[in-house]
């Protein structure tokens, strides 16, 4: 008896998180005030982190909270405040022809993916880290073990990617002082 109560409860929690996630993402795109959009986006990221927890990958969940909800959204909030958006807020959301076409293709794509995922969920071959083994060893240790042995090369390339990111950001935002002196 206790077993299916837990299953039912887990299903309820999943449904709650999924609905919050979908509702928040709809609010992100339909909101006019950019700061409100940013806040709804934070809620979407938190709901996604909740989904990751349901999938037993706790490390990815908390990284989602720290990096996405904590750092990227802070950057977006700063950028939103960097631009003086008084004019933006007053402009009415006018119906653009291209928005209709875009919307149509978006719905088409969503139906395609929905159909692809629903009809026949093919289980790929299960990796070597089953949830039981991961929870026994501790999620972060499991990620660490795989990250630094099998995926060592992408890990090192990631640092180059971060460097390119920094260089790009700093160049684009620094005033050109080359010509002054």
């Amino acid at each position: 008896m206790a077993e299916n109560v837990v299953m039912l409860f887990q299903w309820l929690v999943f449904l709650g998180i999924a609905l919050v996630c979908i509702f928040a993402s709809i609010m992100v795109i339909s909101n006019k005030n950019p700061v409100h959009c940013a806040l709804w986006m934070v809620l979407t990221f938190l709901a996604t982190a909740g989904l990751y927890v349901m999938l037993h990958s706790q490390f990815i969940a908390i990284v989602q909270v720290i990096v996405y909800a904590g750092a990227i959204m802070m950057l977006i909030l700063f950028v939103v405040m960097l631009l003086d958006l008084e004019v933006e807020l007053r402009s009415r959301l006018k119906f653009l022809y291209s928005k209709a076409i875009g919307g149509f293709f978006a719905v088409l794509l969503m139906l395609g993916i929905f159909y692809a995922v629903i009809t026949r969920v093919l289980k790929g071959n299960v990796g070597s880290f089953t949830p039981e083994k991961v929870s026994a060893m501790g999620n972060v240790k499991a990620v660490g073990k795989v990250l630094f042995t099998d995926y060592l090369f992408p890990f090192e390339v990631a640092s180059i990617l971060l460097v390119v990111g920094i260089v790009g950001a700093v160049i684009m935002s620094k005033r050109r002082e080359a010509r002054k002196e």
């Binding site: 692809a116 093919l122 790929g124 990796g127 995926y151 180059i160 990617l161 260089v167 684009m172």
Partner: protein, 486 residues
């Protein structure tokens, strides 16, 4: 705690290591010894770096070895593309040395970003797992987004960079989603293991999830290669970006896109060939015709070359559709010839401009043939080669592609291809006509030819002529290098 240390052999990734080391060195030099207006020494340092990397790619030519739990491989296919990328990077840096100072973008980061982009391309060509290809694509794209928007002064460059960034990020999202769906349905990200898994489970061929994954991958790669439905950004970005970066984008980014395209679609998803052939057929035809037809109406040389690069992508897609062994080899051959032709043409565009007056309108080319005979001659060679006139490399490239299409019984495709190259002859020759048979309305005077750019033109001309007159040994090299792939 069984920790297995992955087998590390640095010889496999020697070129990548060298390029990133030199890029970081140039980055630091540019910051620690900034000499505004005289940053050419950074260009020469980058040239040295590219040459050293070039030397290190050859030893691993023969054997195809895997490294880092087969995340990356040093097979013939990867090495051939690395050679193409290094040539392109070498020529781009040569062009930039004179040009960068003229448009005030000659600081250290410019050369470092070019080398980071080259590193990204090399990873895309040599990566044998979805993650390496994605990381390579991402490194290349971010570096190119910044380079495209470097001329902060002029509004068009910023607009082109932003447009390219937004569309690029969107397309990378599609690519990533496609990779996720393929990983979901096959449970692995190593390309060989995907192919093996698909072979072992034939019912996977009809599973909608993997087909949707392939569709999304086509969109992602299609954008990078600028096939028709995703080519809207190309003319504006090519026109807005600094000309040296336009050359780099037109050749390097397109070649890297095709490298990833071929690697994923042939070695991993080969079994799905009958499914994606139909789409590719349509893409090839549409890309060729739109590219050529719209190029006719262009007045700006950079926009014309942008549309011609779309058309060339169409020709390469024809060989992609052919899919046989000659087809893939002809793609490699064509990308090399295309690189020489395009960079040469853009170099001539650079040489004809000076500070404040860029002369990018085709009408500005009136009377250039007589005023600067060498420049006119080399531009004519590039134009004729792009049009596919026999003695030059362009013709041989197209010849191999269309013969591969005919061998794979895509007669209609070959016919449309030939028709398209006939149309292209018109707008390529129009430039020559302007140069030799039109009176210049205003004098273009005071052009200073920086030695580095002249060397670049000479190398490009040599490349086009060599591949036109002795195409066979390069084609043999290409065929040998893709043996392991198919």
């Amino acid at each position: 705690m069984g920790i297995t240390v992955p087998q590390i052999n640095f010889s496999i990734i020697a070129p990548e290591l060298i390029i990133s080391a030199f890029a970081l060195v140039v980055l630091l030099l540019g910051v620690f010894f900034p000499r505004t207006g005289k940053n050419d020494y950074l260009g020469y340092v980058s040239l040295v770096g590219i040459v050293v990397a070039f030397l290190y790619t050859f030893p691993i030519m023969g054997k195809s070895q895997y490294a880092f739990n087969n995340m990356i491989v040093a097979d013939g296919f990867g090495v051939f593309f690395k050679v193409i990328f290094l040539i392109i990077a070498f020529l781009t840096v040569l062009i930039s040395i004179g040009y960068a100072r003229r448009v005030d973008i000659d600081f250290g980061e410019y050369y470092a970003l070019i080398m980071f982009a080259t590193l990204g391309m090399m990873l895309m060509a040599a990566g044998t797992s979805l993650i390496t290809i994605f990381l390579g694509l991402e490194t290349m794209s971010i570096a190119i987004y910044v380079l495209a928007g470097l001329m902060r002064g002029d509004r068009k460059s910023i607009e082109s960079a932003l447009k390219y960034f937004l569309l690029g990020a969107f397309a990378t999202g599609f690519l990533l989603y496609g990779m996720a769906l393929i990983y979901g349905s096959t449970g692995t990200i190593i390309l060989e293991e995907i192919a093996a898994y698909i072979k072992s489970k034939p019912e996977l061929l009809r599973s909608p999830m993997i087909i949707m994954g392939i569709a999304l991958l086509t969109i992602g790669f299609g954008f990078k290669v600028a096939t028709v439905p995703f080519h809207m950004w190309t003319p504006d970005v090519y026109e807005g970006a600094p000309t040296s970066i336009t050359a780099f984008m037109a050749t390097g980014v397109k070649a890297a896109g095709f490298a990833g395209f071929i690697r994923v679609f042939f070695s991993a998803l080969g079994a799905f060939q009958p499914d994606w052939i139909a789409i590719m057929w349509l893409l090839a035809v549409a890309t060729m015709t739109v590219g050529n037809v719209v190029a006719i109406a262009q007045t700006n040389i950079k926009r014309m070359l942008a549309y011609s690069s779309i058309a060339h992508a169409g020709y390469i897609l024809v060989a992609f559709v052919a899919g046989n062994e000659l087809g893939t080899a002809s793609i490699l051959f064509y990308l090399l010839v295309y690189a020489f032709m395009n960079i040469g043409a853009f170099t001539v565009v650079i040489l004809l401009g000076k500070r404040g007056e860029e002369n990018v309108l085709i009408s500005d080319y009136a009377g250039i043939g007589f005023k600067y005979p060498l420049l006119g001659a080399s531009m004519t060679i590039f134009m004729l080669s792009m049009a596919g006139i026999p003695p030059l490399g362009g013709f041989m490239g197209k010849f191999y592609i269309f013969s591969a299409a005919v061998k794979a019984e895509y007669y209609w495709l070959a016919v449309i291809g030939v028709l398209n190259s006939a149309i292209s002859v018109y707008y390529y020759l129009r430039v020559t006509v302007f140069m030799y048979f039109r009176e210049p309305e205003r004098e273009i005077t005071g052009l200073t030819f920086s030695p580095a750019s002249v060397v670049a033109v000479i190398i490009s001309v040599w490349g086009v002529l060599y591949m036109g007159i002795f195409p066979s040994d390069i084609l043999a090299l290409a065929q040998r290098s893709i043996t392991g792939l198919l």
